[in-house]
Symmetry: C2
Subunit: 625 residues, 2 copies
């Protein structure tokens, strides 16, 4: 109750009724920022990561970016078509976990679940610190505040996300479309210049010289380049996880959103690769003094160093920082899906005031904050851990779809498409794992194994509870008895009236309990006959007993507990109901004044009672005068 | 429930039943460490504080310590006798608050309450940091860890106190008696040497020379010396607050304890003053390089620099650090007394697992920790704030006792004694306030005013609640109706059986609710007739309705909430009871797996329901297989 204050309403929006669920559903316009930020923003670091590894090859390296990007685009196309099929087959949300566990095996499902959960947490931490890192390379004086900036971004993302799906989409629309729009303009303008200069455009501002080659081409190098470039594909599975967030017709809206995201991403990746080659843009050493990001060089080569440059780079920073948002959109849906199968605690099933799976958000925020704090907001070291989870999940999802079509016994073409996807993403996963193993991918592998053990332990717990409460025999009607109702009362008041009325409605054996702390009889002793006993007797109703407990030391709880335990002992078969008024207050701080005694009474009776005591809170709504 | 783990039992002791209350009561042997630590430990800083202010007088200053101490001892004697009378008059605990509010006025009581609360918090912070300060002056390498050491002492005090009154007494017995014993031995041995050397003893180890006088005697100086020396009297009121902690006969045991504490304190104060004069021990400049405490100089002058010296000084350090404990013993009793009159939130009335007023301890610990952290563990600046509260409370208590005797219309002698006490302590309070006002006593005055405003606000809240729930008319028997009982069920289990049995015992209108998430009918639909409906029908009992709610998206809470709200709307006068099983688990982490849905259901229904919904938790005890 303490939650419904004005402050919370202002921050997180008013609580939504479940009937407003439909209004919270989104279309493609809002869906692209929510589910596409992660995928689209990776255009800002995927090509850069590949070009950095190509640096030792000098000028040749810049040429290789085109075939490497082409390979990644082919893989992206395969993945796109197979996720379209997944959306069709699983309209209630078919993340890799659902597809793998339904079609392959429990173990495959858990593997996908663990891989994806770890991947989402890394996405959130890496996205935030990449955005803040880009900001700091623009404004170096902010350097000492790296961690504070990261945590501030995390808080902003949390608050925006706690407002619900629709508000999140609206909030992130501008940065997303600004980012995509400006980059597309750069690409189109660049292509125009390339065509007009017959393939040899002049950069508007001078570019750094490409360093001389220090290594020769090897398959191993190209594999590493490919696996680094593949980070551009993380986040593609997001839409298939969140199909339920879309408006009717959900499948169609989800597929339109996925298509737009993939087309935009492909255009960005292809454009960046081609322009880098045409302008001769190589990466600069990220640890060196003259570091400049590839997108920055590309933008000023095409557009010059003017206002447009700053708008573009500003939107890149913003989108990088906000790319963590995809994790916020999908992680809670993923944990909900896992909890539905009893592999995660059931709290992840609960929807909070804005119809979100709040616990998923809490866990994501806490773990992301821990990562950011432990690494001081500089998560470069986390990047090697990243992308394995995504490709493992891709592979399991595609393989699951193959079995799905096989079981349906038709659609050979679809089966072949998903098979191709599984093969391609499986090989990629293996390449990424091998290429990055010593750099830290082993940590991801270890964490995945631990997560699987943990999820199995949770499942075992639920199975044990289900087994220990299982019952084969039917109900025993003889055990149905009216309960003995105990009503502790203080004085005659509206609250007392509600409690006594309630008690009379459920039983004929009612004991009203009054603790007397002074020597002369309290008011209630005089009120009893007039206000309660006489009217009930005259109406032919049952009259409760009044039991006065003396307490010279003014303890209240102690005599009440002792009396209730004595009643329970004496009445061997009856249940004992204890009615305790609970004030429902308007302001959170009013809770400090009330309610605790009821809570404590309940805990004491649960711990010390003989299992036949039930404490019932009778709500009383406290109003302003 | 989560509280009853093995770890908590080990740390805080097993939960006590209220029937064990008597065993928790203490005699004088344990009472002295609990209620006397603060008073006795002040022998370690009271004389030192007076001697430091006498430093400018040179040799003359050392002579003045005797008359100043004599004045303090006279005041102590007056206060002693009047607190004896308070214990007799208020055997249920007669702190200054109780005495002042019962006999003078509400305002006087609140003034005493605010003064004492602030004084106790300062006692805790100053005591801990004084002890740690003494330790650091012995082992300077610990300097960088001052705050950590202070917080560690706070944690130890908290844990020991959470174990309950008796365990606390036992734990603090050894340091208290060691401190008193060694100091008394020093005093007796010193007196012996003084007598044998005809008043001119030779110190066993050389003492620092007394610096030359830099000022002359003035009344103002002597008043400041007196008011500093009076810090030796803080903590004397502790016993009268805690009379209820003693065994039968409580008054006698409390008075014996008070007598022993006062006699010991007087002996220490008198002995220290006389020996300082005889040996010519002046204070050393606490900020200077050659600082040494008065007790340290005295001990090595009498006993030499051997093992006994180290044992004595060690026990001084320990007792200083533990003197904060008196605040732990009395603060919760004080807040309870205030809460009984509705001036503090009622949580302060609740007694926790070891029969303590746990919330009083929590608040004391948090505020002390805040003070220690804000001041970095160096609370020298707090000392001026200190002692005013104590003397204000003394004065109000004595004045209250005067009115008490006056109302009783007899015992003129007693009235005169308390009147003398009120006068003496009142003058002292005024002196302390004036002497220390600019040094920070104004902060105490301000805080006291704020506390009084806060307590009045709390009272107003309770009065408003009482007024808004007041009811003049008698109960309306026609409003007594059987409730409609809604029982959400999952499958046929022991838990379901308990809930359905309970529902049948309280009403004949029962709706069992099942949320079906899959397409084919769940198990419960098949079990219903066989396990529930048929047996009840055959036994002639009422048969509940079974209501199946379809939920293709596998939401559980949403359809249940919607159904319950619909039932409430349709049934205009009946109350709607919702029975929700609540698992009582054995390990705290099992709570992560369960119960949250019941809590959330309750909150949602409280917020959105139309005030006729009552959520009832049916406890189910989860056992090991």
């Amino acid at each position: 109750m303490a939650l419904s204050t004005n402050f919370l309403n202002l921050l997180f929006g008013r609580p939504l009724a479940t009937s407003e669920e439909r209004a919270e559903h989104i279309g493609p316009i809002a869906g692209i920022p929510i589910f596409g930020l992660d995928a689209l923003s990776s255009a800002a670091y995927g090509p850069e990561a590949a070009l950095t590894l190509l640096l030792p090859l000098g000028l040749l390296g810049v040429k290789y970016i085109v075939p490497v990007s082409a390979t990644i685009l082919i893989l992206l196309t395969i993945v796109y078509f197979s996720y379209r099929q997944t959306i069709d087959a699983y309209p209630k949300g078919g993340g890799s976990y659902t597809v793998a566990s339904r079609n392959l095996s429990e173990g495959a499902g858990l593997l996908a679940a663990a891989a994806l959960m770890i991947d989402y947490i890394l996405t959130a931490a890496v996205g935030i610190s990449a955005g803040v890192g880009a900001l700091i390379s623009a404004v170096p004086s902010l350097q000492p505040h790296t961690l504070q900036l990261c945590l501030a971004v995390l808080v902003i993302l949390t608050v925006v996300n706690m407002r619900g799906v629709r508000d999140t989409g609206v909030a992130f629309m501008i940065p997303t479309y600004l980012f995509t729009g400006t980059l597309l303009i750069v690409i189109v303008a660049g292509a125009w210049q390339v065509l007009h200069s017959v393939g040899h455009p002049h950069p508007a501002t001078p570019l750094p010289a490409i360093p001389a080659a220090t290594a020769t081409v090897s398959l191993w190098l190209l594999l590493k380049v490919f696996s680094s470039g593949c980070t551009a594909m993380t986040g593609v599975e997001a839409v298939s996880n969140g199909v339920m967030a879309f408006r009717d017709d959900t499948r169609r809206n989800a597929k339109i959103t996925l298509t737009i995201i993939i087309v935009l991403l492909a255009a960005l990746l292809a454009g960046i690769a081609l322009l880098c080659r045409a302008y001769g843009i190589a990466a600069t050493n990220p640890d060196g003094p003259g570091y400049e990001s590839v997108l920055s060089m590309l933008t000023r080569a095409v557009m010059g160093h003017g206002v447009f440059y700053y708008v573009t780079i500003g939107s890149v920073l913003l989108v990088l920082a906000l790319s963590a948002n995809t994790a916020f959109a999908d992680f809670p849906r993923l944990t909900r899906a896992i909890a539905l199968d009893d592999y995660m605690p059931h709290v992840f099933l609960l929807r909070g005031r804005r119809l979100l799976y709040s616990w998923g958000i809490y866990v994501l925020v806490v773990l992301t904050a821990v990562l950011l704090i432990v690494f001081g907001g500089v998560t470069d070291r986390l990047i090697p851990l990243y992308a394995i989870g995504a490709f493992l999940a891709f592979t399991l999802s595609q393989a699951g779809m193959v079995m799905h079509w096989k079981r349906k016994g038709k659609a050979r073409a679809r089966m072949a498409l998903n098979g191709l996807g599984a093969l391609a993403t499986g090989i990629t996963a293996a390449v990424v794992l091998v290429a990055k193993f010593v750099q830290g991918a082993w940590i991801t592998a270890l964490l995945i194994a631990l997560m699987i053990l943990l999820m199995r332990a949770v499942k075992r717990h639920y199975v044990r509870v289900a087994r220990s409460t299982a019952l084969a025999r039917p109900i025993v009607p003889a055990e149905v008895r009216e309960p003995i109702v105990v009503v502790p009362i203080d004085r005659w008041s509206r609250i007392t009236e509600k409690a006594v009325s309630f008690a009379l409605g459920m039983s004929n054996d009612i004991r009203c309990l009054h603790v007397q702390t002074s020597d002369e009889p309290d008011e209630i002793c005089r009120d009893w006959e007039e206000k309660i006993a006489a009217p009930l007797r005259n109406a032919g109703k049952c009259v409760p007993q009044l039991k006065i407990l003396q307490s010279p030391y003014r303890y209240i709880l102690t005599p009440v507990v002792d009396y209730i335990l004595a009643v329970e002992r004496e009445s061997e078969a009856h249940r004992v109901c204890v009615l305790v008024p609970e004030l429902v207050v308007r302001h959170w701080w009013e809770n400090l004044m009330h309610n605790r005694r009821a809570d404590l009474l309940k805990v004491i009776l649960l711990l010390r009672g003989n299992r036949r005591i039930v404490v019932i809170n009778i709500p009383w709504y406290l109003e302003r005068d």
